[in-house]
């Protein structure tokens, strides 16, 4: 009996080793595309196509030239695009976090007919694909002069409010009223109650929502492309897409260098905030 169990355990551990090997192989396949980007970002243009999967050789090695060339490709400065991307992402996410948490709290607490309408519209907006409003939204934005990086966060707040409010309302409803009542008795105004009592408790949800919004806005292509004046303002996705459409031969080596530059902040952000990101994504998916 004991023998048998031991044998079973051994087989199991053998099985685990096999599994580990399989997973390791899949893992390597998984990172290969990124490795290919890194390798090719150091290759001379003409070798990217012919020796895509080979390491740079003495002949094909381009050093840092691709990075130097890359940042001005497409007649636009890559760092400017990075700055706009960063600003739009941070400002939009901050705006969304602040205002939707306030709105969600009000909706959950006051529960008037107006609140119900707003809440219903928010849930409704979650299932509306962007193509439905892309033309009218970009037109409205231009008419109201919201077509700059400094004002586009307002558009993001409007179009992205749905999911955030939905998630916040769900959480606020689980906060017991008693705490707020205690604050009110102490003479706190509703505004102070919200910021001093509720906001600290909302922190985990705020992180989840924040992460979802950051990932969305940073990677978004079509909305800023249609709303912004793209001759002046380009975000990273717009910048990259423009490389393809620009006249002349695209330097593939330099493009890969650029892509690497574009990915690095995302990877660093991911590795730093991995736990929150994975939790946030799971929370967003389960609720959305």
């Amino acid at each position: 009996m004991a023998e048998k169990a031991k044998g079973g355990l051994e087989a199991e551990s053998k099985g685990l080793i096999v599994l580990s090997v399989i997973l390791a192989i899949i893992c390597i396949i998984w990172v290969l595309p990124m490795v290919a980007v890194v390798i090719n970002s150091f290759k001379l243009n003409t070798f990217v196509k012919t020796e895509t999967f080979a390491l740079p050789t003495a002949e094909s090695f381009a050093g840092w030239d691709n990075f130097i060339k890359g940042v001005t490709l497409g007649n636009y400065n890559f760092w400017l695009a990075t700055w706009y991307s960063a600003f739009i992402t941070i400002a939009s996410s901050a705006l969304i976090l602040l205002f939707t948490s306030m709105a969600a709290w009000y909706i959950a607490r006051v529960d008037s007919i107006f609140c119900k309408v707003v809440y219903f519209l928010c849930i409704f907006s979650m299932v509306v694909p962007f193509q439905m409003v892309m033309f009218t939204l970009s037109r409205t934005a231009t008419q109201l002069h919201l077509d700059t990086p400094w004002t586009i966060p307002i558009i993001y707040l409007g179009f992205g409010a749905g999911l955030a409010i939905f998630m916040f309302v769900g959480f606020v409803k689980s906060i017991p009223l008693e705490i707020e009542e205690a604050a009110a008795i102490d003479g706190c105004s509703p505004v102070r109650t919200f910021f001093n009592v509720d906001v600290p408790m909302l922190r985990p949800t705020m992180i989840s929502v924040g992460i979802l919004e950051i990932m969305w806005v940073w990677n978004d292509y079509l909305l800023p492309y249609l709303v912004l004046d793209v001759e002046k303002y380009r975000t990273i996705p717009i910048f990259i897409q423009y490389l393809k459409g620009s006249y002349g031969t695209v330097d593939l080596g330099a493009t890969m260098a650029l892509i690497l530059l574009a990915i690095i902040p995302v990877i660093v952000f991911y590795l730093c905030a991995q736990k929150y990101i994975i939790e946030g994504v799971a929370a967003g998916a389960v609720k959305g």
Binding site: N45, E231, K244, G245, S246, G248, V250
Partner: protein, 444 residues
């Protein structure tokens, strides 16, 4: 009166614009064309010049020329450059201001339709008399010369004469497709022995495929238009594709006598210009705007016409054209118009001014302007002087140009993968039937 009317028309929005102007435009046009003629007599120091510039790359030069001119002549000259891609909208809003541009750009037939009524008839003006050719001027349907080309570009086959000689050929004897084909195929067959190949074909990716879908396609459009000029006064609803076999001649020659197989062109990344500049190929299809870069490496590079097997093509010239055409505003005072024309004349006759401008623009088709040092444009001039016909840019008529070209490129890619008759039929469909379909979509 006419000024007031037109202002109101502007407020009506772009859609109403052409409609309401059709009503009053005829009047204002003929009225101001008179004033245009009278401007030939004397120049006045009064009046203002406001040039709404179309080419961002020459802005700096223009600003300094404007300053020189106002300092020496005491005439106020303002140059404002519209952001690239924003010319139409900038023009629309600037025209509606109290001091609208006196000089602006009407670059193609579509613009003649929407802006022609805002331009005086340049026929017989001092500036028109300075012109060296009529090829780049635009006329409206009443025969008024609404705009005058002030610079132009050309494209064709750029050749490296040294390599041609090395291969035992002589560029001067090439005056038609057959000779070009014999030479190119000979070079290609001996490529490894010679150390260079015949053609560096442009890639088929988004950044480069206009060589085939725009420039090369002009072979068919131009010869169709040459055979039936009346049908090509504006965008024809259908085309015949009669000269598509000639397009195929040159297309096949370029793609099959190259260091890379045609099937690899689809994904791009070959950089034909570098191959040419490095002396690895004898020919490539390109335009005059590459001259500075090419001549730095191959000073003797020269441009020959698109030879494609059409009868009488020994008299063919380069494909020359422009979208840079001056129009003088008919809605401003006669004084302003005269001041503007004087400024234009100064730009193309003053040795220093025209030298500076030509250095930026390559070449200006005016009798007294300085000659440029763009070898390819000079090739075009030489051919013109030898009584060759200029192949003008009829590809500007392509309806729904993006969609039309995308389908054509895709069909060419399929053909490149396997160059058989069935796949060429796909190209023909995209080329001929695609034109009719897109014309329908755009106008129907």
């Amino acid at each position: 009166m006419s000024t007031k009317l037109s202002r109101r028309a502007f407020l009506g929005g772009a859609g109403l614009l052409s409609l309401s102007l059709a009503a009053c435009g005829g009047n204002s046009g003929s009225e101001s064309s008179d004033s245009g003629e009278s401007s030939g007599s004397e120049s006045t120091a009064s009046g203002r010049v406001y040039w709404l510039n179309f080419k961002p790359e020459i802005d700096e030069t223009l600003q300094s020329l404007a300053k020189t001119y106002s300092d020496s002549k005491g005439v106020s000259v303002k140059v404002f450059t519209a952001a690239s891609g924003e010319y139409e909208s900038t023009l629309t809003s600037e025209m509606d201001k109290p001091e609208p541009p006196t000089l602006f750009v009407i670059g193609n037939q579509a613009a003649v339709k929407s802006w022609g009524d805002f331009a005086i008839d340049l026929t017989g003006t001092k500036i028109a008399e300075e012109g060296s050719t009529d090829d780049f001027n635009l006329y409206d349907d009443q025969g008024r010369m609404v705009s005058q080309g002030y610079c132009y570009e050309c494209f064709g086959i750029i050749a490296n004469p040294d390599l041609v000689t090395k291969a035992g050929g002589d560029l001067d004897t090439i005056q038609g497709f057959d000779a070009l084909k014999t030479l190119a195929e000979d070079i290609h067959s001996r490529a490894s022995e010679l150390g260079f190949d015949a053609f560096a074909p442009a890639d088929m990716d988004d950044g480069n495929n206009w060589i085939y879908s725009g420039h090369l396609a002009n072979i068919d459009y131009f010869y169709e238009a040459k055979a039936d000029p009346d049908a090509w006064k504006e965008c024809p609803p259908t085309i015949t594709g009669d000269y598509l076999p000639n397009y195929k001649n040159l297309f096949d020659l370029v793609t099959n006598n190259a260091p890379v197989p045609p099937s690899e062109l689809a994904s791009g990344g070959h950089d034909p210009q570098t191959q040419f500049e490095d002396g690895k190929v004898a020919f490539m299809l390109q335009g005059s705007w590459t001259y500075d870069s090419v001549a730095a490496k191959i000073p003797e590079a020269t441009m020959i016409p698109y030879y494609c097997g059409v009868d009488g093509e020994d008299k063919a010239g380069l494909n020359s054209g422009t979208e840079n055409c001056w129009a003088v505003n008919s809605q401003v005072s006669e004084e302003d118009q005269n001041a503007t024309i004087d400024f234009m004349v100064w730009l193309v006759t003053d040795p220093d001014a025209s030298k500076e401008l030509v250095a930026q623009l390559g070449s200006m088709p005016f009798i007294n302007a300085q000659k440029g040092d763009n070898g390819f444009l000079n090739d075009a001039e030489t051919l013109n002087a030898a009584d060759c016909y200029t192949m003008d840019w009829d590809f500007n008529f392509q309806p729904n140009v993006n969609d039309y070209r995308a389908a054509l490129v895709s069909a060419l890619n399929t053909y490149d993968k396997d160059q058989n008759d069935a796949n060429w039929e796909g190209v023909r469909t995209a080329f001929v039937q695609g034109w009719a379909d897109q014309y329908q979509k755009a106008n129907g």
